[in-house]
Symmetry: C2
């Protein structure tokens, strides 16, 4: 089958089709999304080698459970060991022995086929297009914040980063009724959120104000976002750290202590709530689609997704 492989460089090549073990399904990938984490992987994040890609919609081609064959599915990306206390709690995403689709120990979705445990697969409601359903994974990651932090309607919330993740975070946090502003560097991207009725500010405009917020979400994907975020949280406020990138940053921990700030690291979320929110039409992530490429042009799609200002680039297999 065709697959986009990262082994230090990225190339579209032929590799054997996966041969999933018992308990796992073979899924024909129909649509995949390129995430910033995929870009960070090509910069060394997680030292991953293999097929990246973890946002997908597909069709089950083979599974022990014949009822599932032919179903249109999305898939939770963390595959647990099923033996540990984390897996016993339904928290496979923190299993110490987990593999993660296209990120750690498991080939991902930038290929004609992928393998995942049957229990990771979730059927996609008929009413949802592939273009919406492919956002299930990043939307679930955005909604994870709501599982970790109590956001109240009276809270003033700052989301830093007008990229894909920041926009999804802003879309879902806004559903709480909180007073939220999305801040970024790109007038055209902010316009997308503003068109949906959201409140936005250019980074320069934020810099000109002195406002501090009850809750700040760092989703800029940039190491400089951390220090900006720390400086904009009220004393006793919450900073949600959503960005992952490869490398270290330098910071002065004193303001965290002096202002008694709480920093909450936030990663993957549950697919069920994300699909509910998509199906109910509470958010429409398709406004974030910048381009759709045929899989034959996957290398070019990847380049495109790394261009400054690019939003979601999709691959159609």
């Amino acid at each position: 089958m065709k697959a986009l492989i990262f082994d230090g460089t990225l190339q579209l090549t032929e590799i054997p089709k996966p041969d999933p073990p018992p308990g796992e399904a073979l899924v024909l990938v129909t649509t995949a999304g390129i995430c910033n984490t995929d870009v960070e992987i090509t910069r060394g994040y997680m030292n991953f080698r293999g097929v990246p890609g973890h946002e997908f919609v597909g069709k089950v081609e083979a599974a022990d459970d014949s009822e599932l064959v032919g179903a249109r599915v999305v898939g939770e990306i963390n595959a647990g060991c099923d033996q540990c206390s984390w897996c016993a709690q339904g928290m496979e995403r923190h299993c110490p022995n987990r593999t993660v689709l296209g990120i750690a120990g498991r080939d991902g979705a930038f290929a004609e086929y992928l393998g995942l445990p049957v229990k990771n697969l979730v059927k996609v409601p008929h009413s949802l297009s592939d273009e919406k359903a492919v956002f299930t994974e990043p939307l679930a990651a955005a909604m994870e914040i709501l599982e970790q932090v109590k956001i109240e309607p009276s809270h003033r919330v700052l989301v830093l980063g007008d990229g894909k993740l920041g926009q999804l975070v802003a879309m879902v946090l806004r559903l709480t009724g909180c007073d939220l502003v999305l801040v970024g560097k790109h007038r055209d991207k902010l316009e997308l959120f503003a068109r949906g009725g959201g409140s936005v500010l250019l980074l320069d405009e934020l810099t000109a104000s002195k406002e501090r917020f009850d809750i700040v979400v760092e989703a800029s994907g940039s190491p400089s976002g951390w220090n900006l975020a720390v400086s904009r949280v009220k004393p006793r406020g919450i900073l949600v750290l959503k960005s992952t990138y490869h490398g270290a940053l330098s910071f002065n921990p004193a303001p965290l202590v002096i202002n008694e700030i709480t920093v909450v690291g936030s990663r993957c979320g549950r697919f069920g709530p994300a699909l509910r929110v998509l199906e109910a039409g509470l958010v429409d992530p398709t406004v974030l689609i910048a381009a759709v490429f045929p899989f034959d042009q996957a290398e070019e799609a990847f380049r495109r997704s790394q261009e400054r200002g690019a939003l979601k680039v999709l691959l159609k297999m």
Copy 2:
């Protein structure tokens, strides 16, 4: 009056006695404690210039409220503006316009006299010796953790740092019934906590194990403590950051995000609960007293408190 002044270097000298404005009391300092924050101040922390010192017991010499004159008191170190929303909530310790005794904008306790708002003063119960009462401030700071984080009896808790702050934190968190271990580099200091029935480990012994904890408190005062702490928190666990030091540290934020760790910055606490715990004999901080110096030898006392392995050094005025 005699005072220990920091203006780039530290020296015992004569300065005018404070002349407190209306609403503030003049306090004759009888006992003061040297804290690591005082040492950090001499390294540039907070850019403070003036009289350091914020742990004290004293006698009210003059106050608008004559009932207070002659009382033995301790004092909350944050003096708010009384005008802002933080002060209105009784959270003067986060007032943006606050002064902080011996730390920011207000001369401190390493002097014969100090000035503090009358509302900051708390009478010391007769049953408490000066040697116990002088620990009210750092004990309140340790107990602040209990105001911020729900520690359950079933939690496994790691306290990093066998210095003054780490020991006080371990003493109070242990009262929750949690399964706590104090880790440090100094066998003799750990022995103090062990003698009180606490569980201890040398840093090397911790390094040899792979254990992760529900809650880790970083109280080592060392930048290296941060990375060790991050590596020892369970996924979804809590890291309490208690150390303040001057300068930046380099860290990779990815583990916070991947393991969804919550970092809680923690600073000053309320004096009432600390005095209750002292009076009830639930903790005895006097085991931490390494030396008591007359105030004439304040410079030497300060040097002593900076020696490796030194615990609490007190000054008697």
